[in-house]
Every structure is written in structure tokens, then in C-alpha cells.
């Protein structure tokens, strides 16, 4: 008895998608695939596992403890992919090197990361996203952001906000006040984690002017619509930060042209993984979900790590997170009922197969009975299976 229970268990942080859940996931993925393709992004599929060294390229090193690791038969270290950007960067730096730039790629795939599992946050999860490699323009960034918003809209999510930041803004301010590398890292960690108490403490401990301290303390509170940018300009007294804000203004104007600016909130304390991102960064949040359901940004150094320097920008959205957010917001998920239950009498299976074939070709969803039935039994089955209509061939 005990043994059987163990056989029915699945590993920590994984889940089964039952028919309804799988159908909802499929519908979303199809919408995303269609949208990515309409925007000129071609789908790629990469291996589920990669060499550990590939995945820990760049800032992936921070991720080592979150990776599922294994060995191949030559004892090389492998790992399951924990996201799709690094494998795509490898691909673009390798077999797609000769491809005329920019390269626009999309994916829908699973990824693996050791996490403390919560609803919508599992160790095996599914992502959809795009990478735009070979363009450093604000137009490329705006396209990626607009596509992220359109993806969520296409999926049917109603309420969400996209928080937009620029990592160079914070770097510029710290450069301006000549913080040491250690101090920079501490400040960034406090800003990203919104540890305002820690940040205030750090700022007060700096050998700097009061203006500098106030500016640093203010960073995580620069969050809001257009007037936030003006407030940010007021403390950005260096070219690097001003360039970052100019970049955000330009992106924002383009997002207005895409008609999606109403979803955007500026959040200059947003840094994400700051050893990795080099320009604009964004995260999408929605009521009732304690973590971002979509995130992305510009990462201009990753491809150089693979020996093929090129600027790049992109986003990934969590499919399970999106499904959960939609469920919590009561968004409509398309019904999945079968159109026809096709029953048949003792010697009519051949005719029934032909009828099923004809109706399926016409686009109906048809469930064919697995054995002959009376009409009454077929009607009962139709009810039980939730099919819309009964067709019976005596």
C-alpha cells in the first residue's frame, strides 16, 4: 500500500496539467505563437539541457545553486536550462552568426529552477518570450515592451501594469558621487530589494554631501507616471543618468504610438539582475500575484561573452503565472466542450467511422463511442461526457 503511494508521487516543484488546464495552457501558447509570428519573430527550439558552463556564462553564475545539474557519460557537467535567453544567445553567437542583423527569435518552452514552490512558482515552469539581437535602438526596446503588453492582452488578462526602469540611471548617480564598487553593489542590492531602511543607513554612512545622500535615498521612491521622469531629471546631474532618462522618454513616446503607454509606470528603482542588464528593464505585475508575471530588458554584454558582441533586448513571460493571474481575476477561459458524441448500433461501426471522419473534416470535435450502444445509453454517455450534441447511427 505504502509502496503504491510513493509511485503516485511526482517530484517537488513539478505539476501535472489536467485536460482543462492543459487546454487553457495550449490556447494561451497558440495565441502567443501567433502574435510573435505576426510581429516577425521566428520560433526556435533549443535543447532542454546544456553544458553547465554555457548556462553560467555572464551573470548565470549567480544562478548555479538554482540549477538542476547532471553529468553526461564523459562526466561533463550539464544543467537543465533555467531560462531561454542564454541558450538563444549561444545559438545566435554560433550557428546563426552569419544571419543578417537584427535577429528576431521567439520561444515557448519549459525551464527549470530550484525554487521554494508556491502557486504559480514551480521548479519546472513554462515560458514564452522573444529576443531581439543586433539592435541597440530605443525602437527595439519599445517593440519588445509593446509586444510584451500585447501578449498579455492577447491572452485575455485584464488588469496589469508594466513597471519600466533603466539601470544606467542608478549607475550614473553612483558614478557621479564616486561610490566604490562595494558601495555600488550594496546600494543596488538595497534599491532592488526596496530595503529602504538599509539604503538610508548606507547613504548616511557615505562620505558625501547631503544632496548626494538625499538623491540616493530617493531612488526607490521614483515610481509613478510621467511626472516621475521630471523628478528623476532633477537628481540626475550627470550625463550617464540623463542619457538613461532620455532613453526612457524616447521609449515612452514610441509606446504611445503603439497605444500601450497607459499600461506603463516608471519605476527607477527597478534593477532586476543588475550584473546582467545594461539598459531599460521592465516587470509586469498584476493584482493578486506576488511576483512579476513577465519581465525583460536590454542585455548588451551577454553575446560578447559568447564571442559575438551584439546588443540585445527581450522578454519572457511565465505561462503558469499568467494562467493563475487570469484565474484569480476571473478572466474568461475558452470553453472546451466536445461538439458531438457519436454513438452507434451493433453493426454500424463502419458507418459511424465514416460519419466521424466527415464531421471532423468539417471542423467539429467528435467523440466516437468505443462500443455499440442503444440510443438511450448513448444519450446518457453524451450527458456524462459533456458533449453538446448526440448523433446516433442505429
Amino acid at each position: 500500500m505504502k509502496k503504491n503511494n510513493a509511485l503516485l508521487k511526482i517530484p517537488y516543484g513539478t505539476r501535472d496539467f489536467l485536460p482543462e488546464e492543459a487546454a487553457a495552457k495550449r490556447i494561451i501558447e497558440e495565441k502567443l505563437a501567433e502574435l510573435f509570428s505576426a510581429w516577425g519573430y521566428d520560433e526556435v527550439v533549443t535543447p532542454t539541457m546544456e553544458y553547465l558552463d554555457t548556462l553560467t556564462m555572464g551573470s548565470g553564475g549567480n544562478q548555479t545553486e538554482h540549477l538542476f545539474k547532471l553529468f553526461d557519460r564523459h562526466n561533463s557537467s550539464l544543467a537543465l536550462r533555467h531560462e531561454m535567453t542564454t541558450p538563444i544567445a549561444r545559438l545566435v553567437s554560433g550557428r546563426l552568426k552569419e544571419q543578417p542583423s537584427p535577429v528576431k527569435l521567439a520561444y515557448l518552452s519549459s525551464a527549470f529552477r530550484y525554487e521554494e514552490a508556491q502557486a504559480g512558482r514551480q521548479c519546472e515552469f513554462h515560458q514564452g518570450g522573444v529576443e531581439l539581437m543586433g539592435s541597440g535602438s530605443a525602437a527595439a526596446d519599445a517593440e519588445v515592451i509593446a509586444l510584451a503588453i500585447e501578449s498579455l492582452r492577447a491572452a485575455g488578462l485584464k488588469n496589469f501594469r508594466l513597471f519600466l526602469g533603466q539601470v544606467e540611471f542608478v549607475s550614473g548617480i553612483m558614478e557621479q558621487y564616486q561610490l566604490s564598487d562595494k558601495q555600488k553593489k550594496e546600494v543596488k542590492t538595497c534599491v532592488e530589494g526596496r530595503d529602504l531602511v538599509g539604503l538610508n543607513h548606507l547613504a548616511d554612512g557615505l562620505e558625501a554631501t547631503d544632496a548626494a545622500k538625499e538623491a540616493i535615498k530617493k531612488i526607490p521612491l521614483l515610481c509613478g507616471v510621467e511626472e516621475t521622469l521630471q523628478a528623476a531629471y532633477a537628481i540626475a546631474l550627470n550625463p550617464q543618468s540623463r542619457r538613461a532618462l532620455d532613453n526612457l522618454s524616447e521609449i515612452y513616446e514610441l509606446l504611445q504610438a503603439y497605444d500601450v503607454a497607459q499600461y506603463v509606470v516608471f519605476d527607477l528603482g527597478l534593477l532586476r539582475d543588475f550584473s546582467y542588464y545594461t539598459g531599460m528593464v521592465f516587470e509586469v505585475y498584476t493584482e493578486g500575484l506576488g511576483y512579476p508575471l513577465c519581465g525583460g530588458g536590454r542585455y548588451d554584454h551577454l553575446l560578447a561573452d559568447f564571442g559575438h558582441p551584439a546588443s540585445a533586448t527581450g522578454f519572457a513571460l511565465g505561462i503558469e503565472r499568467l494562467l493563475l493571474a487570469m484565474e484569480r481575476q476571473g478572466c474568461e477561459m475558452a470553453p472546451q466542450a466536445t461538439d458531438v458524441y457519436l454513438g452507434y448500433g451493433v453493426s454500424s461501426l463502419t458507418a459511424a467511422i465514416k460519419e466521424a471522419k466527415r464531421r471532423r473534416a468539417a471542423g467539429q470535435k467528435v467523440e466516437l463511442a468505443t462500443m455499440p450502444q442503444t440510443q438511450e445509453d448513448a444519450a446518457k454517455k453524451q450527458q456524462e461526457r459533456g458533449c453538446r450534441e448526440l448523433v446516433y447511427i442505429p
Partner: protein, 216 residues
């Protein structure tokens, strides 16, 4: 406007928290930790207070059942919850330390390696001892930690101290300081973003008050 939900801990932090929030206009009729109602709403201001057990405040805030909350830094650190820490409110000051029976005090801190330590803060304690290169046996207790060494349950304790009176009365002596703690204003990560206008203003208003009172 949507409700802003505030989690307040029962016990000694309740009164100063409620008073401070009242000064910036966040209060409700019948707000008291003796109240039998666990949710108290101010319809006019769109604020809702939930009153919970101290150790549960970070949990309510992490999951977004409360947008913001007030909690001691000691409990917050121990909980390891992923919340934003917005403001040091200055009250509820205490510190975490390690204490041992005065009579049997050993020469060095490291002489206590591999001994038993009774505590309500096993995570903080473990982090502290690991930094000293010490492995310990942790005995988790829910209260009256000072009793541990007295009845021979442990060689030492890790606990919070305000005045030190309880330690003295039980023949204990502080031998290592671990961290300071005061009450903190914390926020849910998503609420901080989605309700930024209200929470941001609140932080600004509170920081003026706390700053003023903090000065001698």
C-alpha cells in the same frame, strides 16, 4: 479607490504603531488589540486593519493579504519573508544577543561550539554562529527562553533583550551581541508598486514624524 490593508501585531508594538498611524490620518473606530473583531475598517479613508499574532505579520504581508504592516526587525529577519522594508519606525527598540549562566561562563565564545542553544530565533542564531565558524545544536522554544540554561535544557540562549532585567533575575549574562531591532514598516512587493501613490505618501509622512521624534 481600493482598500489599503494594514497588518498590526498584537502585543507591545500595537499601541505605538496605532498611535503613529493615527497621526498621519490612518485610523479606525474601535482599533484596539483587545478588540474581538479581527478586521476593522475605516470606510471613509478606505483603510482596513487586521490584527494578527506578531510572528504572522510578515506572512500576511508577503502573500499580499495585507499591503503593509508593522513588525519588529527581529521577527522580520527570523521569518526570512520576501517583503519590502520601508521605514525604521524607531520604537520597540531591543537587541538580540547570546547569554549564558553567569556561574559557568566559559573563557571564549567559541568554547560554546557544539553546545545546545535555546532560542525563538533559530535562523538568526544559526547565521550568527555560522559566521563565527561554530556549529550548534538549536533548541526551539516558544517563550520563556531564559528557563533553558536554568533547568539544564541548554548551555546558552539567543534572545531579545530590552533592559536586561529578566537576564539578571535568572542569573544569565550577555556574552555576544547579535543585532539591533526596532519596529519596521514593511510592504508587500506588489502592493508597493500597484498602490505606490498611497504607500509612497505614507512613507514620506511617517519618515518626517519618525525623524522629528528620533531627535533628542
Amino acid at each position: 479607490m481600493e482598500y489599503l490593508t494594514v497588518a498590526l501585531p498584537k502585543g507591545k508594538l500595537f499601541k505605538p504603531s496605532a498611535e503613529l498611524l493615527e497621526k498621519i490620518g490612518y485610523t479606525a473606530d474601535g482599533l484596539s488589540d483587545k478588540s474581538r473583531k479581527l478586521i476593522i475598517t475605516n470606510e471613509e479613508k478606505k483603510v482596513r486593519f487586521i490584527i494578527t499574532k506578531t510572528a504572522d505579520v510578515p506572512t500576511y504581508v508577503e502573500y499580499g493579504a495585507a499591503d503593509i504592516g508593522v513588525i519588529g526587525k527581529d521577527v522580520l529577519t527570523e521569518s526570512g519573508k520576501d517583503v519590502y522594508e520601508l521605514l525604521d519606525l524607531g520604537f520597540g527598540k531591543c537587541h538580540l544577543m547570546m547569554a549564558v549562566p553567569k556561574e559557568q561562563k566559559r573563557a571564549k565564545l567559541t568554547d560554546y561550539a557544539y553546545t545546545r542553544v535555546a532560542t525563538k530565533f533559530p535562523h538568526i542564531a544559526e547565521e550568527f554562529f555560522t559566521r563565527q565558524g561554530m556549529q550548534m545544536e538549536y533548541i526551539n522554544l516558544g517563550g520563556s527562553i531564559e528557563l533553558g540554561p536554568v533547568v539544564g535544557l541548554s548551555e546558552s540562549i539567543v534572545d531579545i533583550v530590552e533592559t536586561g532585567t529578566t537576564l539578571k533575575e535568572n542569573g544569565l549574562e550577555e556574552i555576544a551581541y547579535i543585532m539591533d531591532a526596532t519596529a519596521r514598516l514593511i510592504a508587500n512587493r506588489v502592493s508597493f508598486k500597484l498602490k505606490f501613490a498611497r504607500i509612497g505618501n505614507m512613507v514620506t509622512a511617517l519618515s518626517k514624524l519618525v525623524g522629528k521624534e528620533g531627535q533628542p
